[in-house]
Subunit: 307 residues, 2 copies
C-alpha cells in the first residue's frame, strides 16, 4: 500500500509547515489571552500553565482542528478556540506524564519539563487547571452559537480524554512493561493514548461545521490511521533520533522494557507499517476534493518528520 | 450573632443526617453505574476511580445539590447526576491533594489514601479521569433537557474547579507556609479551595430549577458563608479531633506551619467565628420559607459536627 503515499515533495511540505506554524501562532495567542497572569500569589499557577501550554509543540493537533474546520467553512475564531482547548488538554497530559511517578522525564520540547522548571505540586495542579480550562473554553458561547454543538464538543473531548480514551491509554502504557503486548494490543493502547485526541481534532472540525455523518465517519477513520502512523513514526524516532533533535529523552521506551512498534516489527518493518497506516489514512479521504489537501499533507508529514 | 444559630436539636440533626445519608447512597449508586468495571488491563484505573469516589465521604456537597434542587422542584434523577459530577471533582481533588508531592497524606476517610492503596501514577491518572468524568456527566442529555442549562453547569463547574477556583486555592494552600496570611487572605484562600465547589453545589440546584436571579444570589451568598464556617470548623477539628475520628491525619496544618483559623483566632475565637459565619449563612436564607429548612440544618451541622 505504501505506493499510495506520495513522496514528501517540497511544495506540499512547505504548505503544510506554513499552515502548522500558523495554527501554532493562533492557538498560542488564544491561550495567551485566556491565561493572562492574575494578581496575587496564585499567579505561580498560571505562570506554570503558560510554561506548559504556550511554548514549543509541533502544533499537530491545532493544525488538524483548523484544517478540518476550514473544510466546512467554520469561522477561524471558533476553530482556534477549540484548538486551544485541545492543546490545553494535550499539554496537561504531557505535564502529568512527565512526573516522576509516571514517565519521570526531565526534558520536554527541548526545555526542562514542567515539574523540573517549577516543582511537582505545581506541575500536578497546573495540569489539573489546564484540563479544567479546556471545558471552560468549549462551554463558552464564543465557541459556537449553537448550544448543542458546544455540548457535543464537551462530551466528545471528555470521552476522548478520559478513562475510555487518553487516560485509559496512559494507564495501559504504564502497566505495559508487565504485559506481553502484541500488535493488536499496542495498536489499541496507542489508539487510546494518542489516537483519541487526534480523533477529537478532526471530529471537532466536523461538529463545528455541521458535517454530514458519512463525512464525519470518514474523518474519524482517517484520524485513527493517522494517529497510528504518527505513533509508529514516534517509536522509530525514539530509536533513530537524538534527544537534542527530539526535544525529549530518546530511547526511553526501549530502556523501560515497554513494547514499541519497533520492538514488535523491527525498524524496517515499523517504517513500512507507518507508510501503510498513512496510506490507509489517505484512502479515507477519497471522497473529499482539494479541500482535504491539508489533511493529506499531514499524512505525509507524520511519516517523514524528523522530530 | 451566634444567637441566630439555633442549637443543634436532635430532631433537625436527625433529619439532616437522614437526608445526607440518602444523598450519599443516591450519588454512590449513580457513580457505581458510571464506573462499571470495564474489561481489559485498564480496569485498574476504574477500580482506583471507584476506590476514590464510591466509599466514605460525608456527602455534604451531594446533600447541598439535592437539597437546593428540591427547593425548585428539580427531578431527583437530574440532581443526582449533577451531585455525582460534583462528587467526582471533589474526590479527584482529594486524591491529588493527598499525593506525596502535595499534602503527602497516607490516610483518607479512615483508609489508606488512593496512592497508598494503589500507587502514585494510578492516583494521578484516576484523579484526572474523575475530573474528566464530571464534564462527561454534565454534558449528557439526561442531566437536563435544556442544552443551555447543561452548558451553564459545565461552565460553572469549570470555573469553580479551575485556576480561579479550587485549584487556585490549592496552589495558595501549598504556598501558604511561606506567606504571612491574615484573616482576609486565609478567608480568600479557603473561599477558593473549598468555598468554590460548595458554591457550585447550591448554584447547580438553582440552575437546574431555573431559580430567579435574586434567589440564586442569596444561595451563593449562603454558600460562601457556609463554606467558611465549614472550613473554620475543620481547622478546629484538626486541633481537637483524633485521626481515628476524623478519618484523616489530625494536626497536619499546624505541623506544616500553615496558617489556620485557629492559629489566627485561637480555639475559642475560631469556634465563635464559625458560629458567626453559620449565622450569616442563615441570614441569607431569610427570604426562603420552609423549603430551605434542609439548608438551615446544614448550617447547624457544619459547626456541630464531630468529624
Amino acid at each position: 500500500m505504501s505506493e499510495n503515499v506520495p513522496p514528501n515533495d517540497s511544495k506540499s511540505a512547505s504548505a503544510f509547515n506554513s499552515a502548522r506554524q500558523t495554527a501554532v501562532a493562533l492557538v498560542r495567542a488564544q491561550l495567551d489571552d485566556f491565561l493572562n497572569p492574575p494578581k496575587g500569589p496564585e499567579k505561580r499557577l498560571v505562570e506554570a500553565m503558560r510554561y506548559a501550554a504556550l511554548d514549543g509543540g509541533k502544533g499537530f493537533r491545532p493544525f488538524l482542528v483548523l484544517a478540518t474546520s476550514a473544510m466546512f467553512g467554520v469561522p477561524q475564531a471558533q476553530a482556534v478556540r477549540v484548538a486551544a482547548a485541545l492543546e490545553s488538554v494535550h499539554c496537561y497530559s504531557l505535564a502529568h506524564d512527565d512526573l516522576p511517578a509516571m514517565d519521570d522525564d526531565a526534558l520536554r520540547r527541548g526545555r526542562p519539563s514542567l515539574h523540573k522548571a517549577y516543582d511537582e505540586a505545581t506541575a500536578i495542579l497546573a495540569g489539573d487547571a489546564l484540563l479544567t480550562l479546556a471545558f471552560e473554553i468549549l462551554a463558552d458561547g464564543a465557541t459556537h452559537a449553537d448550544a448543542n454543538v458546544r455540548l457535543a464538543l464537551v462530551a466528545s473531548l471528555a470521552q476522548a480524554a478520559g478513562r475510555q480514551g487518553m487516560v485509559g491509554g496512559q494507564t495501559l502504557d504504564i502497566l505495559s512493561p508487565d504485559l506481553s503486548l502484541d500488535m493488536a494490543d499496542l495498536s489499541r493502547l496507542q489508539g487510546l493514548k494518542t489516537g483519541a485526541l487526534i480523533g477529537f481534532a478532526v471530529e471537532a472540525g466536523a461538529l463545528l461545521g455541521a458535517a454530514e455523518a458519512a463525512q464525519t465517519a470518514a474523518l474519524k477513520a482517517y484520524a485513527q490511521e493517522l494517529g497510528l502512523a504518527f505513533q509508529i513514526a514516534d517509536d522509530v524516532l525514539d530509536v533513530t533520533g537524538a534527544s537534542q533533535t527530539l526535544g525529549k529523552t530518546a530511547g526511553k521506551d526501549v530502556a523501560e522494557g515497554k513494547a514499541t512498534f519497533v520492538s514488535l516489527l523491527g525498524l524496517a518493518g515499523a517504517r513500512q507499517e507507518a507508510e501503510n497506516r498513512a496510506a490507509a489514512a489517505l484512502a479515507h479521504l477519497a471522497a473529499f476534493g482539494s479541500e482535504a489537501e491539508p489533511l493529506r499533507q499531514a499524512a505525509q508529514f507524520v511519516i517523514h518528520r524528523k522530530n
